[in-house]
Symmetry: D2
Subunit: 203 residues, 4 copies
């Protein structure tokens, strides 16, 4: 819990306002079972996540892409990014949501962003206390990750127009459960309040 920047510092500078934007499983080749329904749903929310990421970038709120490691621990994030543009949905999403050098990336082996990953440690090094959780699928990776973030005492918001599931019904049910069972806000992305600006200059 105490965090020291010795050895290999994991992060450049504290997150502005103790806030981070987490973008889950939006970089994909959309070739898995169920992708025919999830892909279009992801494309529909991509502009909202993209706009939110832009606002975050302007005030020093870091973005962390968390993605399935589909390459069996032999491929890497940048390769996933390249591959994702080879299909129509992935290329369309990339119009709105493109990882840049300043973004962090974490590969996850399973559904939860916290399971067997360095995310919690990275967030501590960024001095993050609040998370904006976005991406797909709202009733699986998003639901698990948001509930686990709350369990780890992060404040969590899941903007309702920045997550999606295979069907609108499943998305609505997942959002309702996050609100009722975990007390997580589902404020629309445009209304999520961000800090005024970077809290301190980069080291």
């Amino acid at each position: 819990m105490p965090v020291k920047p010795d050895r290999a510092p994991l992060a450049d500078r504290p997150a502005s306002g103790g806030l981070a934007l987490v973008i889950i499983d939006m970089i994909s080749s959309w070739d898995f079972d169920g992708a025919d329904r999830l892909g279009p749903a992801a494309l529909a929310i991509a502009p909202h996540i993209g706009a939110l990421k832009q606002r975050c970038s302007e005030v020093g709120v870091p973005a962390v892409f968390v993605n399935d490691n589909r390459g069996r621990w032999r491929s890497e994030f940048r390769e996933l990014v390249r591959q994702s543009r080879d299909n129509e949905t992935g290329a369309a999403i990339a119009q709105h949501l493109q990882p840049v050098e300043a973004d962090y990336s974490v590969l996850k082996p399973k559904q939860s962003v916290f399971y067997a990953t360095p995310l919690d440690l990275l967030l501590r090094h960024l001095r993050v206390r609040r998370l904006i959780v976005t991406g797909v699928a709202s009733d699986q990776c998003i639901a698990m990750s948001a509930a686990e973030a709350r369990m780890r005492d992060y404040d969590v918001v899941v903007p309702r127009d920045a997550v999606a599931a295979q069907t609108a019904g499943r998305n609505d049910a997942a959002l309702r459960q996050l609100e009722e069972a975990h007390g997580i806000a589902t404020t629309p992305s445009a209304q999520v309040e961000l800090p005024a600006g970077a809290t301190e200059p980069a080291r």
Copy 2:
């Protein structure tokens, strides 16, 4: 993953059929916020869990009670059990569901049964591959624990008459999400198939 019984063996003998019954947060003083609704719901499912536990006991399927550590790391499970009988709901549940010497117990600090607990390790030492997850609340501790068990590659069944939430609507929605998003069966408790008998004698 490889498991050796050296040092302090964590379990007496392998679980019959690689199966374990997990009973979550049913031992309680029911004095927390929302307990007025969750307590009666828990009492209603207690006979079903009790009957299932009896069947499990007869064929060598171990039961593990997992409970919140409300004693701030100074109290213990047996004390929780004693305290739980001091209130009406707790005493009524105890008619159906009473921990015995043969049962295992694990205290959890937060919602998930896997977070900061030895449960996964205990289950490995029991050679468990399948879990029957029961208790309360279905849209919080149960939903998180069942999804995380599935993520850890356990087969999971959540008997629909052996879990409850604050309202029937929230319980139904939670069960539907476990089925749709995680492929978890919600077979009624009386129909959950158990192994024929103990796979090997106690050491």
Copy 3:
């Protein structure tokens, strides 16, 4: 990392000076392989740990007993404490080192105090940043736990007269490695500086 006292608060009040005393595997029946050598060595350091615990108690520095769960997840800490007094070494150690109501206790399944336990979470709730690590064996549980505490960014001191191994040679080598490889101080227990007093009243 952010810590909220909601749900089941894990700790009464912040640790004075962000400091905690961790006492590892000193409560034992001393009936395991190698106990004939480790028991007397443990008895020899017990007065030093006892005196340090007394000083800690006076200024609001909490003590956490971390012990092997030898009861196969069916016994509990208080039972371990009772059983430990049934043998000569255990009874002699108890003259110097007796758990009291105010102490915390954590059962560990394996050597490290952090592996599959709630210790890290408990320490966060206590707002601990510095650990005094004591007990046995210095080249096994102590060495692993101290190095892992350092890895988790805690400041760590291992008082050289408050730890022991099966032989003096192994103890010396373990202390040297903690100093050289991990930069951990081995200040004698009487010289470990404690905060002046409790930082804030109990909630």
Copy 4:
């Protein structure tokens, strides 16, 4: 513990003989504090690790490179590999030890290969039960990782000519502690027994 190859299979096929070769922190720019002593020591063991890796490769024993993420979660393993060749020591080590497509790679944030990484999960998917642990530094990352592997019930061998520390004295002391306190063999690399061949064809 139970492992299913659904979703994103983490590994191609089971490790031959349930064995894996782990190579820790050998890919580096050798520009950190102490690298002037550790670099030459690493270069001296590189031929032994390289020869062992070659033998492993011939019989289907997978190699896993585990390295510090010095890029602050914005760089990747292949980039580390490229950068490591820009300095003399790194280039010399690369003569003996070059990651190839078939190798796995895991980035670690801290000293232990298990802390906040997917390594344990990857090893389970590879059906690994035995580890050959090699690399630097023997009294820090190697000592912690080998002891933690043992704690996780893996069989572990640390070939004494395939690990190094900043000084020969520290290396010797670390090897002695692994033997005495953890019962870990330090068999020379040429004498480590490997399985006869791949146990089953690739899926």
